[in-house]
Symmetry: C2
Subunit: 404 residues, 2 copies
């Protein structure tokens, strides 16, 4: 019997409990022993819950898990960073393996927790922290044994992808779709972590650090969200037979790497254009395997619960190497030198603005009400400098990178 201490009983936690219950016999017969959730730590023990559970296992004191020597595995599925960090560190230090779905936690303490788990000879797994249900962390780690990986890209946030898909497919306004996404539970009441990009950035930080075998920190990634996109932009980009996705990308060059999260223009008919609604996708390239692409549900109770359980099963079956998967390469960040083509819209049409962007314009799409241009190959910094120099509000522009 494997005893688990579960931290959190929200959407993902309930998914874990329910799948475990419904697949109990199958799991026992396959792995030869039972997986048992022995204690569940919650903030409010008395909260009414839609889940069939023995009430005695619901607790509010982490010590009960930490000091229970029959619990060998802590499964962390909260959205709290600092409190969870303390618990996870205590668990690892006490020789308990940890599975987490918490990308903010993994992103912030990736190097420290990975090293600590190896030191204590326990597992630290986080498949569900990137791409929801998609198997991506494990396949990437497996390919890293046989490949140098020099590129990883992904549509990593279901909320953004849902909003963008409906704006492009149905011609809806940003605010309208965001409201619907909130009603459906796809978007939080405070949607900033999704639409402004930090959630994607954290997932990219995890993927990029694994892929390049050196630290790609949160601060090493250029960040632009989707929150400024308007129906005007959608119309312009549809005329280019293209659509927009929020894509995170880490790419290694001979002399360094670039890392960015940015609204990205992809051609209709391309792979990324086929990833719609709340689905996510991750792609990476290795020198032997070539390009691999993975697609699936980026969030949700059962897909994410399924990913957490795959980690749990790997630990139960002793299928984890318990080695720190992070490399020690010192990477040179080349963000400021990378040139790309961009779509740039500024929500005002003044002669001085048009003049300011003239040097970087390859094509002018509009000068009426909005100034919209396609740039030639420029450094992102050059565009940002121009924008800063203009007398406009910070929500009065939208920029999207054009992917070949």
């Amino acid at each position: 019997m494997i005893n688990i201490g579960l931290l959190g009983l929200g959407t993902v936690g309930s998914g874990v409990v329910e799948i475990l219950e419904s697949r109990k016999e199958k799991i026992s017969s396959l792995i030869g022993e039972e997986i048992n959730i022995k204690k569940i730590l919650v903030k409010n023990v008395n909260k009414k819950r839609d889940i069939h559970l023995n009430k005695d296992i619901i607790i509010s004191n982490f010590e009960e898990i930490l000091n229970d020597h029959t619990i060998s595995l802590v499964v962390e599925v909260t959205s709290d960073i600092e409190q969870s960090y303390e618990y996870v560190k205590l668990a690892l230090n006490n020789g308990k393996s940890v599975v987490t779905a918490n990308k903010a936690l993994v992103s912030k303490y990736f190097e420290e927790l990975s090293a600590l788990a190896e030191e204590k000879n326990v597992s630290f797994l986080y498949e569900a922290s990137v791409g929801g249900g998609i198997p991506i962390i494990k396949p990437l780690k497996e390919e890293l044994i046989l490949n140098s990986v020099d590129k990883v890209q992904g549509i990593l946030n279901g909320t953004c992808n849902y909003i963008l898909t409906r704006m492009f497919n149905e011609g809806l306004d940003y605010d309208e779709v965001l409201k619907k996404a909130q009603e459906l539970g796809y978007a939080e009441m405070d949607p900033a972590a999704d639409v402004e990009g930090p959630d994607t950035l954290r997932k990219l930080r995890i993927l990029g650090s694994l892929a390049l075998q050196g630290k790609v920190g949160e601060e090493d990634i250029i960040l632009e969200g989707i929150e400024k996109i308007t129906s005007f932009d959608v119309r312009q980009i549809k005329l280019m037979k293209s659509t927009v996705k929020l894509i995170g990308e880490v790419k290694e060059y001979e002399d360094g790497y670039s890392a960015l999260v940015m609204p990205t223009i992809v051609k209709d008919g391309s792979y990324f254009a086929s990833v719609n609604m709340a689905f996510n996708s991750v792609t990476f390239e290795g020198d032997n395997i070539g390009e691999l692409k993975f697609y699936g549900s980026g969030a949700g109770k059962f897909p994410t619960g399924d990913a957490v359980l795959r980690d749990i099963l790997d630990i139960a079956l002793d299928f984890d190497r318990k080695q720190n998967p992070l490399g020690h390469r010192i990477l040179k960040n080349n963000n400021s030198e990378i040139k790309d083509k961009y779509y740039l819209r500024i929500s005002e049409s003044k002669e001085n603005i048009l003049k300011s962007v003239e040097d970087i314009s390859e094509k002018i799409l509009s000068t009426k009400d909005n100034i919209a241009i396609l740039t030639n190959e420029v450094e992102i910094k050059e565009i940002m400098d121009i924008i800063s120099s203009l007398d406009i509000e910070k929500d009065e522009y939208f920029i999207a990178r054009i992917l070949d």
Copy 2:
């Protein structure tokens, strides 16, 4: 040290040897021991080879591998079915694990070899037999612990996909592209196993049997190849803003399942339409995980060698459960009852032919030179009966299923 006996030194075998050589240190440091190819069985020991190897390890007598007690793993990468079957059976019976990339072998003897490996408590792995480098067998087996899987679909043959992509994108004739594919080594001189569909059928037989946890035999799958497609068909289907892919599909319904390999019309902009050239893709659906899609190189020395090596690593690390992954469900084949919409072209235009297809026509696309129709929802058997009743040669028609 893990000693391997390698059977075959063709494209895949060379890939395995070369990746193993180039990643030697990485592998040793990660798994804590060396993986060593101790003997390589070939038909012709004296053949000149473009590969740097100690000549002493190249042998022509399988007994040297079978009787070498230091060899715990046999890696079979030939395209021979019956000879390999004997060798693999002998290896398993002698307590050696087996990794194979040979889909024809796995397809023909799937149940027997899977049961034998379990009985002997050794591993029998075949990741490279389906989808080349794409990780698909392992993720599917992992999800089967946590899910009921009721659908699996795939573009499983790179040669067909290469031919179809170039016909649709460049307007080339079938014969012209096939010739180019042969020149580039993408297609065999006898292309029947690819273009007529048996290769796809074997891979689907493997995926379908795993997914549904019951035997889906080669004979249970409806088979149509792409070899009859003409530029006329390409033009008609492009007018439908669609393209054609050779798709294998196994799908379970409440009262049975269907299994087919058939040219399939998919809408431009859809996921499958974005899988081009020699790439493959497999998708499946589980009740918890939802839909997962995997995309990558469907063939080739290094991608396929990489997949073989992933299996080898799993055995070296003792990460295989050594359980027969096949289920014992008795499945009811519903192929004859499944209704779909089809595109049907017959290369003659006679009044009696038009009359024969009238009952199943939803839309007539052409009556000049070729008769081409879109059918209403019909059973495939009904179409085949009509075709048999007509006085036409067997290569004078083309049929493609229309996917929603």
